[in-house]
């Protein structure tokens, strides 16, 4: 038996073994990327859309891995610690229904248009469907704006996790007291964020979308297995499942609102309006790209069916760990650090701590890579090549442009992650998802309503974005915000802001489309084929 299992807690805090394990994991990941580089053909097509060669299992792992970021592991545990058992119903169970519905209703239709007309990015599709180049220039910066909070939660989540693992435990200082005096020995969040960004950049630079797909599959398996391992070990240390839940705070086991300022439990109106948030998958650029470029429609079958189950496998353990933490950690503990602290405090084998932490980082990086890559693809195809023409650039130059844009996005994200480090990961993610969800009337109308017009599309995008931005600002740029005193009548209190931004986008699409000129017959025939 490992002697460190009997190590006093203060000595464990100083063991650097978890950091070594994490470093080995990152090395393995880079090795995998180098392997995928051997298959990289060096062409821009291969760099952007290797997903045309991805089968059902890799598609499932890619889609699930990119959807479940720090939000799923770190955020869900932290939110369950704060709000209690309702966390699962807020996002996980509704996502099982709505994500899969989007894959089925939006994904397969988009795949058919991608296959038929050769689209790679969502902007290419919207430009043709709404007969407007300008819609691309409107949509692109908005999508980037919405992706940045999504990227932020990954970078911040990684920083908080490593701080939790390497930080002081009890009276003992953290792992590196001499190196990082200001954080009492914990690895600072900004250093972790930098390393994570560099690793992700390395492997997407090496092999493009194929490397991202391989890394996603590998990392999704790692984070699912490590999540279950953490769950087993923590429950074991707490004396089994029954004993673990018995020591949890009773108020967190129900959804009735209680606690100071009603911060425990879930108000019913909030729970109801949260149902709109999972619609966000309908507009995520990286998922759009998967849909447009998947090898075959049959590839989606496994994703549609297995997605709700995969969510359950990851979220149930995390929510339970969050509930157990209410009996172990002090009330004011930062939500983002709960999972790392529970692992660090209860699982005393430093190797296992390192493995579980690597699993958390895997979840984070598996989202970052696809999004970085997708932004580069959109910028290159929808802005640069659209404006200046493909013939003006060599294949190498096209890849270079995509890489430079990705680097600039990484730098912006990194700077924001330092400024917004104290923000709740769960809440930031919900804001990002709310923004994308607000744009879903656009894609639903594009696919299912022949009468949806160019003007309606512009109005929908602008109204949804303006309303979203307004409430995002009112929330203090990323906090939980459901009290509209002074802004809206009291009857609206408790609703999620997505209700208003989604509603604005929907109403604008319908009203403006009804009163403006219809799309050309050729466009209608193109996107509403008769079988």
């Amino acid at each position: 038996m490992n002697p460190e299992n009997f190590m006093p807690f203060n000595l464990l805090a100083t063991s650097t073994t978890p950091v070594v394990v994490i470093a080995i994991y990152l090395g393995l990941l880079l090795g995998l990327a180098m392997m995928s580089k051997l298959l990289f053909r060096g062409t821009s097509t291969d760099y952007f859309v290797a997903s045309r060669s991805i089968g059902p299992f890799m598609l499932l792992m890619s889609v699930f891995g990119t959807t479940m970021t720090a939000f799923a592991l770190v955020g869900s545990t932290g939110k369950a610690f704060e709000r209690g058992v309702g966390t699962y119903g807020l996002m996980a169970s509704s996502s099982g229904l709505i994500h899969a519905a989007c894959f089925f209703l939006i994904g397969i239709k988009l795949w058919s248009f991608g296959k038929k007309y050769g689209y790679v990015t969502q902007i290419q599709f919207f430009r043709d469907r709404f007969e407007s180049k300008a819609i691309g220039y409107l949509l692109f910066p908005i999508l980037v704006l919405l992706v940045i909070p999504y990227l932020l939660i990954g970078v911040i989540g990684a920083g908080k996790t490593i701080m939790g693992v390497t930080g002081p435990k009890g009276k003992a200082p953290g792992m590196f007291p001499e190196l990082f005096e200001s954080t009492n020995g914990a690895v600072p969040g900004e250093l972790t964020g930098l390393i994570i960004c560099l690793v992700v950049l390395c492997y997407i630079f090496a092999g493009g979308s194929r490397a991202a797909a391989w890394a996603n599959t590998f990392q999704t398996i790692v984070f699912m297995v490590m999540g279950l391992l953490a769950f087993y070990l923590i429950s074991d240390k707490l004396g089994g499942l029954g004993a673990a839940i018995a020591q949890a705070n009773d108020a967190h086991l129900v959804r009735d609102v209680s606690g100071e300022d009603g911060k425990i439990g879930v108000p019913k109106l909030m729970f109801l309006t949260y149902m709109l948030i999972p619609l966000s998958v309908g507009m995520f650029p990286h998922l759009f790209q998967h849909w447009l470029t998947a090898r075959s429609a049959k590839s989606f079958r496994l994703t549609v069916i297995a997605h709700p189950i995969c969510i359950m496998i990851v979220w149930v353990p995390c929510v339970l760990i969050g509930l157990w933490a209410t009996g172990k950690l002090p009330e004011g503990t930062s939500g983002g650090a709960v999972l790392a602290k529970m692992v660090g405090i209860l699982v005393k084998d430093p190797i296992v701590v390192g493995l579980v932490t690597a699993g958390i980082l895997a979840a984070i990086m598996s989202s970052l890579d696809s999004q970085f890559l997708c932004l580069g693809t959109m910028f290159t195809n929808d802005v640069v090549l659209d404006k200046y023409g493909r013939d003006r650039f060599t294949d190498k130059q096209i890849i270079l442009i995509a890489r430079l844009f990705v680097v600039s996005i990484v730098i912006i994200t990194y700077v924001f992650s330092i400024v917004l480090f104290e923000k709740s990961i769960f809440d930031l993610a919900v804001w990002s998802f709310s923004g994308f969800a607000s744009l879903t009337p656009l894609v639903f109308a594009a696919l299912y309503w022949k009468g949806a017009t160019k003007a309606g599309a512009f109005a929908s995008i602008i109204c949804a974005t303006v309303v979203w931005l307004f409430f995002f600002k009112e929330s203090g740029w990323g906090g939980e915000y459901t009290d509209y005193t002074g802004v809206l009548p009291a009857a609206f209190n408790g609703m999620m802001p997505v209700t208003f931004s989604f509603g604005a986008g929907l109403v604008a699409m319908i009203v403006v489309s009804l009163v403006t000129s219809k799309p050309a017959e050729s466009t209608v025939n193109k996107f509403f084929p008769k079988f």
Partner: protein, 76 residues
């Protein structure tokens, strides 16, 4: 009633069942470790997966897929 309509009705029913107000204050533990609210929504996730199995079996858009896969692409 066509299988497609049955699936749409089931999906709407599942959407409504998500709002389980009757479980809000229920602190019972299922199997001695799982709070009722979590147990109910875990079963909900399984029900969603089963719904999508039926959707793929009975409402798969075969015509659309055949259209996309048939012949050369019209544009590039």
């Amino acid at each position: 009633m066509t299988p497609k309509k049955i699936i749409i009705i089931l999906a709407i029913a599942l959407g409504i069942l998500h709002h389980d107000t009757w479980n809000w204050g229920n602190s019972d533990l299922v199997l001695g470790f799982m709070p009722m609210g979590l147990f109910y929504h875990s079963c909900y996730s399984l029900a969603a997966a089963i719904l999508w199995v039926f959707a793929i079996k009975f409402a798969w858009p075969k015509d659309l897929v055949d259209w996309a896969e048939g012949g050369d692409s019209d544009e590039s």
